[in-house]
Subunit: 338 residues, 4 copies
Amino acid sequence: MLRVGVIGTGMIGQDHIRRMTSVLAGVTVTAVADVNVDTAAAVGSSVGARVHESGESLILDPSVDAVVVCSWGPTHEQYVLASIAAGKPVFCEKPLATTAEACLRIVEAETAHGRRLVQVGYMRRYDTSYRALKAVLDTGQLGAPLMMHCAHRNPSVPGFYEKEMAITDTAVHEIDMVRWMFGEEITAVRVLTPRRSGNGGDLQDPLLLLFEMADGVLVDVETSVNIRYGYDIRGEIVGENGTAALGSLSPVRVRLGGQAADPVPVDWRERFLGAYDVEFQEWIDALRLDGRPVGPSAWDGYAAAVVSDAGVAALRTGERVEVALAEKPKLYDVEVPA
Amino acid sequence: MLRVGVIGTGMIGQDHIRRMTSVLAGVTVTAVADVNVDTAAAVGSSVGARVHESGESLILDPSVDAVVVCSWGPTHEQYVLASIAAGKPVFCEKPLATTAEACLRIVEAETAHGRRLVQVGYMRRYDTSYRALKAVLDTGQLGAPLMMHCAHRNPSVPGFYEKEMAITDTAVHEIDMVRWMFGEEITAVRVLTPRRSGNGGDLQDPLLLLFEMADGVLVDVETSVNIRYGYDIRGEIVGENGTAALGSLSPVRVRLGGQAADPVPVDWRERFLGAYDVEFQEWIDALRLDGRPVGPSAWDGYAAAVVSDAGVAALRTGERVEVALAEKPKLYDVEVPA
Amino acid sequence: MLRVGVIGTGMIGQDHIRRMTSVLAGVTVTAVADVNVDTAAAVGSSVGARVHESGESLILDPSVDAVVVCSWGPTHEQYVLASIAAGKPVFCEKPLATTAEACLRIVEAETAHGRRLVQVGYMRRYDTSYRALKAVLDTGQLGAPLMMHCAHRNPSVPGFYEKEMAITDTAVHEIDMVRWMFGEEITAVRVLTPRRSGNGGDLQDPLLLLFEMADGVLVDVETSVNIRYGYDIRGEIVGENGTAALGSLSPVRVRLGGQAADPVPVDWRERFLGAYDVEFQEWIDALRLDGRPVGPSAWDGYAAAVVSDAGVAALRTGERVEVALAEKPKLYDVEVPA
Amino acid sequence: MLRVGVIGTGMIGQDHIRRMTSVLAGVTVTAVADVNVDTAAAVGSSVGARVHESGESLILDPSVDAVVVCSWGPTHEQYVLASIAAGKPVFCEKPLATTAEACLRIVEAETAHGRRLVQVGYMRRYDTSYRALKAVLDTGQLGAPLMMHCAHRNPSVPGFYEKEMAITDTAVHEIDMVRWMFGEEITAVRVLTPRRSGNGGDLQDPLLLLFEMADGVLVDVETSVNIRYGYDIRGEIVGENGTAALGSLSPVRVRLGGQAADPVPVDWRERFLGAYDVEFQEWIDALRLDGRPVGPSAWDGYAAAVVSDAGVAALRTGERVEVALAEKPKLYDVEVPA
């Protein structure tokens, strides 16, 4: 039984605690911490977990085998670094840290430690459809991949959502996904600004992002974050001989009123609920096996941050921006399964 | 943590043990038993469970809160009755028992006990697609249901599969599903025998079953158990104003060689893996909540047996056969969620 | 240029005249006749066709190479027989005649004439989807056909529609289609009556028809004639190794308001407009080639009538009714392309 | 009956002659001409048309009401100008002329004539799917259009196909289509070059074209001209509230060997056969109505040429290239139906 301490007991933290106590096997939540002490106390008592006054204290708790960080983004760096310092595996919700420099400090700390401890919460790698897509790609039957067309559509976004967030918060999932899908880095980014949707007020929405991969694969990503009709994630890989696309996962088809219709998910929870479960179960299983995570690494978190920065620069300047990554430590060369 | 004892450690029993130890939350396997003592010992030691020499002994083990019966069909009755006698909840894989009479004895024993203990392993009620279909039906937007078209297709069946099994083993899933879907009993059965497939040797395959429901809904079920191309489960409800059908759950769509193709599952494991997980998690959760199962009941197991018998008679005689059920005890009147 | 005379200038006759004057090649309408003399005069003058006072007079007009019969059903027999007597090709809208006996008289007259002159208006054989379905079947890749599932759905029917018309007017299209699809006769019919739709008043709607083909293929046909949501024609052939179904012919897929939806045709005109055009063009082309039609024959019209009668008897009695056809004249043995 | 003379009796010319003599209504081919006199003679005699020694002579033939130009591209300008000079309607296969300047000369000649005579052969406007897509857009239910994603895929191209042809020959169909779809001009073009397919030898294939429309709609077009699996045309309009995409026009769905598959057209003939028929029938009908074509105009041909030139420049330079059109004559302001 893996004993987990959770830092951050807000909405996402509570959801992961629910997942670890009510859905998944082989795990127990033994400790919680939050800047909001009352929330931490309430959540902790509901699942019988010890409540810590600080994340650092939780990390050092001997009843905590592994740490889950769901706190406010700006605090991620300190808790991940503290976990590494304590030699404990840590699952950090995205982003790994709020700047590329901070991500790199984590990479360097983990590299100095000499063994992977960090996993970042990019859950698309655990989605059934993306995995089926990658499985088709990996058979080689499409020939070499040449392009990928993606769309990331949200029915709406909250009022504090700003235009850069379409890259740093929304398309960052595609950034991680294509790096994983094609097994190579993004080398340059362009961002185009189509006619603006009236649904988003002054927000520059939608965007068309263009990613160049190291081998020349060209990825286009539409982000539409106020498109009303639903939460819709699309992806099609164009190979030399054919294409493979995310399938239609409609549980039911209804014929009524002149239409044959499939429901569209209302939000990301509905669409990716299963992926979150798989993500955590595989993280738990890997840690129980040999204490080492095999999912998205600190390097992946760092690379996503650098590409996001390039994307934001491309959006601001209208120019093609190259991605400049640090040298990749050998620690991250190992081929990982997920 | 629910402590479960598993009787029967063959293929299905091992799969449920894997599920309870590696996939689901809130459960531990504390005891196992099997007529094959070596298998029981091996499985038991791999999960740290006590090995019993008999199912009856396992049922009486104080470290067993609830029993799962996965043994050979003819032994189901005795273990379920023993569990009821011990006042312990019991999950019995289908069939509940091998004859309608035996099922009725279980119904009577449970009724005498006065509180539900028995759940039968009809897992379609837990499938995402069937649940979505029922959700659409229950909105009333289709109007009253009038018909349902079903198909149950297997790529192949083992050599010992006999023609009656198309009803008792294969279509029995549809028998339970339509009773649950429409919330009423099947009152008559016809079985038609189309041209025989050469893939099944002398087996009468496919069949077309016709079920009349109490309110007049007419259900047709194709069973094709040697259809090679894959495992395919179809269902469409025809209402007054429209229809609703099981959707297409294809994770990926591949365009290659002149075709745009969706994969078809290879077998029932691939198709219903998730439903088994949900079935067991909900069983565990219900028992932890108040010790009472809310899934398919002994009455459901009994009704399925009676309808199966009617189907076998209809197949043998070519005639329409009416279904004669005993009076339904009040215990089973409660509306159950799943 | 084929010179055609049209008997019956009501809605269907006018539509075929429009087709022959504005859509198709190689044909001109030279004569019209109708019991309603005013309508005939108006239609005739609009296309420059001579107006006859009787169908018989039109048939004998030397400027008429071929006859199209679109008049009231009870008059079909006399006009078709008169055309045969005149040695002129005749296209007769369904039904060929209103009784099986009358159809047989036509078969006998044509057989006595010694050469095919008659074509009956079963247009599904000309539909792109049905032809694609037959092409797949004819490759043999499905193995032998064993079953076919069909649905024939209308959003609504007029007030004069009676329950037998679900067979004689609606399912008769499937009767002709399966005879053509499988190249063999229907030998027995059953009709089942599901729960009645409230949309059709006292009408027994829907029905489930069951056809046994000579080789054992079992066909089920749902007729739902008040199903509101649209005009929907479905068909799936179940073979030994796989299935083939009418595809989805949606020109557009719209994602709006929580749904991804394909439009459903509103009526048979929208669904089968193209099939009518192909039907007539091929009829014209065949006659211009050697004066002989190759589409649905008088025998097909006769067989449809006999099967319809059996269906009506099956509906009335609730019994399985065998189909008793006369001996098929050699004239109809020739394999026809459509 | 419209009397048509056809200049150019090669493959495309013969196909249009077949269409006008065997498929469509209200037209007859009275004259033909070709640089290859033997071909012209053979084709002419097969349909009973007079054979001219030159296109100019055919245009002046009093038995020719309207001209169809299917000759080699570099000759289009002269025949179209000669038709205008003769005051005769002329249907010119794409391109209208081989340079933007030549197209502009035609525009100016027609403008001087004062009435539309020229129609250019952009047939996508006549395709059922594109029309259904435009019909949805025009309802306004999507909100304002913001983006359009397109793909234009060919299984292979002939050896003489050069990289610019992906724009001038292939994507030019999308250029015309989006101008028609959104009712506005393309103002700038970018061309990106993804990783190169090994199927096309040295050819730069695929490409990603990006068109900016006057109102800000951003269009991306993938051209893949060696993608083996089939001929596949895709298009999805992204609006403020939802999207609409070209539907799936599969006539049949086959379940075999682990897949549920829809056929993909093998080439553009299969995909757009119906559109060519509609295009010509509507041209014929319009000319018979009042001698004036209502389809794609000389201005459309000119604009397509200018945008193509911009695309070629963008491909060569890697830069965004603005589209500089001449002022649009009032003659072309009229809203046209197709």
